[in-house]
Symmetry: C2
Subunit: 390 residues, 2 copies
């Protein structure tokens, strides 16, 4: 199937992928009097008297805003708010499909950090959570961080959603190759939103003082200029921060230098940058998650030729699809059900382990559950809810 | 039925009155590839290349934001954004029920005029129209006015929706009492959003240079302190402006002074302020629209005792219910279908006449169509669309 051509005609035929529908019929005067004037005054008064009852009488408790400024959409880059709408509608579809959450796309006609933060604060009353999406780094870090006190979960899926699903895949991959996850040397290519969040989660940066902490031995991150190390003078704040918990031996050089003796390669950036010869320089039974989309950093066939034990990509037509849809629906479902005020590091780890557990007997070709496996979101939701409550 | 008690339990059972649902199934990998990655890139690119195609590929063309800051909700006053949600959800229900429009409540956690204007501009990309609702005057005037260049219709329903439905009722009432609408002397009690918009529409203030203009002979507006006249020193800008097209003889005094010899009384403010003796001072065959809700300015029985020919209220249990739901669904339907950039005075007049025309043979007890008459919105939509297309 030609996805691109078909997708265009599908979108044109449907004129968008979601709709807003009533939960009740309005056929009679009584219906109208109950749903609207005069009866509606009663839930209004109840909420005015006690704000928390907004969760009892309105859609808030099951409604998530998918917020984007269109600055970093898929592989398309900064295409702006309107052009981002189809992606956000697609995301809304997945929220409903996998977690029965009512999600609505909010595409912002500004790329100013302060304006975005303020807009999200202002529109928050009707939402029970905010999924930040496709906002370019490093602005996305600040936006997410400064919205953590909003009183509802604010979660940048490109960061944490990706990191959670990668960790899930890594947990099972380690089992398959019989390595201890605490011993793994990991190289991450790409130091934007996803790369940094993966590094933080794998090094347990946000969770170190708790007993819920697993950490790989080392992470080395690379960007387009090669290894991120102390000697670099061109690093933004986020990349400088990264050095606190990565590259402990202060290696320098290119990506190809970085992966020598590494156990794991995680690519979240550019197509076609590794070959079989590179993989041969890695440790035995290397694990490769080549997540650049649609063209991965290395094709599975090539990676296996180089001796890789396990290869995952972002693609649905290849084994081990590492896809955010395994994470965000269940994460928000659990957070909403627990009425959590934020999504904590413990909740993120719980989500990762729940996803991993959905594959009871992982193999080289199945370290991660299938994207369309409906059980995943519900297991993730349970685990996240328990972590939120506990 | 005890609407208040029943309404509370209904809202609690449903947990809000609307939901967001997919227009398509996502069962297979192909579905996912078309609705989301990688296929979704194609409509995104098309919109990035030509912004106008956002109407072809997304929900924009059928989606309306119902925006409120909760500062003037029903008869409840300034109850804030969260407590306003049930009303906005109810409105969304009506948009769908009567005009198949996908409307979504946006309740703003600010009552600052500048912040509201900016927030609406910022969230506009996904919406094809904005229904401003329950925002207190005079801020609502400025907010609406300054958003007129947004590129999509921005319509304050409490003002224009009410005015349009009142004009429709008045057109038919004049026929029934065999008076020429151009000869009518009208008194309006209440000089907030609704009262001022009614005065402007009845005096054809926004439409005077066109051939689409009908105007009553005179309007006198009253507020809590009595007649609004030149000698008052306590008038806000909106009320000062009102004097340009009302009270031509500069009458002063109370509401009771105002209605002497008037043909029409329109109340949009306070319960129980007129009695039969007052109505007796009006012209023969007086028309009374006592729209305060739930308790009107005068009950129909009392008004008829005073010699009124026609009485309308806002209540569903009495004849001649003057209800905004006769207006806004069809007005937005027509505006969206025409892809109008604003709702012009000509479109408002077209809506009023279309509503009036839905009662082919008006009588004293039926000057306005029934609130649940499904044909109204479609006739209004047609008329509004035609007026928009010019």
């Amino acid at each position: 199937m030609d996805y691109f051509k078909e997708s265009l005609s599908l979108h044109k035929r449907l004129k968008g992928k979601i709709k807003v529908v009533p939960k009740m019929d309005v056929r009679t005067k009584d219906d109208l009097s109950l749903a609207y004037s005069p009866g509606v005054a009663e839930p209004c008064k109840a909420i005015a008297a006690n704000e928390e009852t907004v969760y009892d009488y309105t859609i808030k408790g099951n409604t998530v805003a998918i917020v984007s400024d269109g600055s970093a959409v898929l592989g398309l880059g900064n295409i702006g708010a309107k052009a981002a709408i189809p992606v956000m509608e697609g995301k809304a579809l997945l929220f409903k499909r996998f977690a029965n959450i009512d999600a609505f796309p909010i595409c912002l006609d500004t790329q100013d950090t302060e304006e975005i933060i303020r807009a999200v604060q202002i529109i928050a009353p009707v939402f029970g959570g905010v999924n930040l999406e496709d906002i370019s780094a490093p602005r996305s870090f600040e936006i997410e961080e400064r919205l953590q006190d909003l009183g509802i979960p604010v979660f940048h899926d490109d960061q944490h959603g990706t990191a959670i699903v990668v960790l899930a895949a890594l947990v099972n991959a380690a089992k398959v190759v019989k390595k201890n996850i605490f011993d793994l040397k990991v190289v991450i290519n790409g130091a934007g939103a996803a790369g940094i969040a993966i590094a933080r989660l794998l090094r347990c940066v946000d969770n170190q003082d708790t007993d819920v902490c697993i950490s790989v031995r080392s992470v080395i991150a690379c960007d387009r200029k090669g290894i991120i190390h102390q000697g670099r003078t061109d690093l933004n704040t986020a990349k400088q921060e990264l050095l606190k918990y990565s590259n402990p031996e202060n290696k320098s050089g290119t990506l190809k230098d970085a992966i020598v003796d590494a156990d794991v390669f995680i690519g979240v950036s550019s197509a076609n940058i590794l070959n079989a010869e590179d993989v041969k320089t890695m440790n035995r039974d290397a694990v490769i998650f080549a997540l650049a989309n649609p063209i991965p950093e290395i094709m599975p066939e090539e990676a296996l030729k180089g001796g890789a034990a396990i290869v995952g990509t972002g693609r649905s037509d290849l084994p081990n699809q590492v896809n955010n849809v395994l994470g965000f629906p269940g994460i928000f479902r659990g957070a909403l059900d627990a009425r959590a005020k934020r999504i904590t590091p413990a909740m993120k780890l719980a989500a990762a382990f729940a996803i991993a557990d959905c594959v009871p007997n992982p193999t080289k070709e199945e370290v991660i559950p299938a994207t369309l496996n409906e059980a995943v979101a519900y297991k993730v939701a349970e685990a996240v809810k328990a972590a939120a409550m506990g």
